[in-house]
Symmetry: D2
Subunit: 138 residues, 4 copies
């Protein structure tokens, strides 16, 4: 795993699975979001903090490549890395591992923009957030 | 089926299932809500209409009894009935049928209150909505 | 909180919320299931263990009473208690608290039966599971 | 819209939304899958038909580009096209439109392989399925 990623671990819940007895493909996006949320908590802020109330952070792209299925109760490790930090957007990379097997299950990325809540137009990522993200840039 | 219910039909999606190859129990609440949404469309309004902007309709109780499992691709018929219409709340009853087998899969209910968006306190259901609901009361 | 419950804590994810900016009511069932899964891990078994391969544990009833809404990032504490342990079924009670406010957000229960995978008929809960559950009975 | 796509329409449900009052990004994958399921029904088969019992169809890639948000009650039209049909895989393209505004909300694709259920290895897509898909190829 890369040296400057942020990682969390959790187990696959029953509700995450589908009738093929594997995790439903749409849930990988939710796992990506879960590590992103924990990453912000780790950095000490939330996108819903009052001071960011004029900005929101919609996703503009999401991609996932599924290598191997995950099953109920599997212990997953999800790693977030910052692939690209621009003035108005950030691209996070994700890797999902089966922790006990040390196997890569999926890779993906999500591109997020900062947008003005009134106009919907892209705007600068608040500097305080940029400063907290920088140490994680490659 | 009861004479004054409102019914919709739809098929079980793959994402609704879990590793037991049946519909995950939490999705029945979502099916209840789906028929409720279609019911309001059928009655010609939406709870998000501008004129109701000072009210919201949180659920205060939900119950489901699971009789038989539903599986991928099953054609379901979901029936909504009004069990009780009070000044500030409404109790909907639900029945889910496997349409081809004419089998009852689940029954349940949901109690919804009208609440003032500012105070959070229960308030009167808007009269226009009450008038539209009345013909469906038992 | 009751003395012999089992508790876990987690934060509300963005995906758990809906356009009313509160947790969607169907997700409380998922929170109930999450603490149930962790409870079994705590007790050292999984319902999917090979030795239980002839049994499954469908839910036959689920109920939730919603007291106060939960919001994004809220730290929740979910408590599971055993309300009733019978030969072929178990009834779990659940309480969801807002941990920082020490406020009760929801209460509910789920009734689960042990069923023979071949016949679908109710069967005895495996004795090893019963033994592990007993210390948590009221 | 392209001439040889397959289209379905449905409204955004409350449960599809999140606290930003738009459809949660992970639900677009679910919308893609919903039109895929309806497409197969339209073609007269299901991937779970008994004759395909030795094959399953895992997703190996999924991508979505989000152009504009979708909101509760919006009438969506989702179009599926076959971007590439190979011996062992198929790539579906998707476009999601806001029907009343005739606005493009999202584009994406999903790559699916046929896999042997025993070995997990890629295998030929059953010829009957290939024959039904061909008329939709560009």
């Amino acid at each position: 795993m890369s040296s400057n990623g942020y990682r969390i671990s959790f187990r696959v819940s029953w509700v995450d699975t589908d009738a093929a007895q594997v995790v439903h493909f749409s849930n990988y996006s939710r796992f990506f979001e879960r590590v992103e949320e924990e990453f912000y908590r780790h950095l000490g802020f939330s996108v819903t903090d009052h001071k960011y109330k004029e900005v929101w952070f919609p996703r503009v792209e999401a991609f996932c490549r599924y290598e191997k299925p995950a099953r109920f109760n599997d212990l997953l490790e999800v790693e977030l890395t910052i692939e690209e930090l621009k003035e108005k957007s950030v691209k996070y990379g994700f890797k999902i591992y089966h922790k006990d097997l040390a196997a890569l299950l999926a890779t993906g990325y999500v591109v997020i923009v900062a947008a003005d809540k009134q106009t919907g137009k892209p705007t600068q990522i608040p500097m305080e957030i940029v400063e907290r993200l920088k140490p994680f840039c490659k």
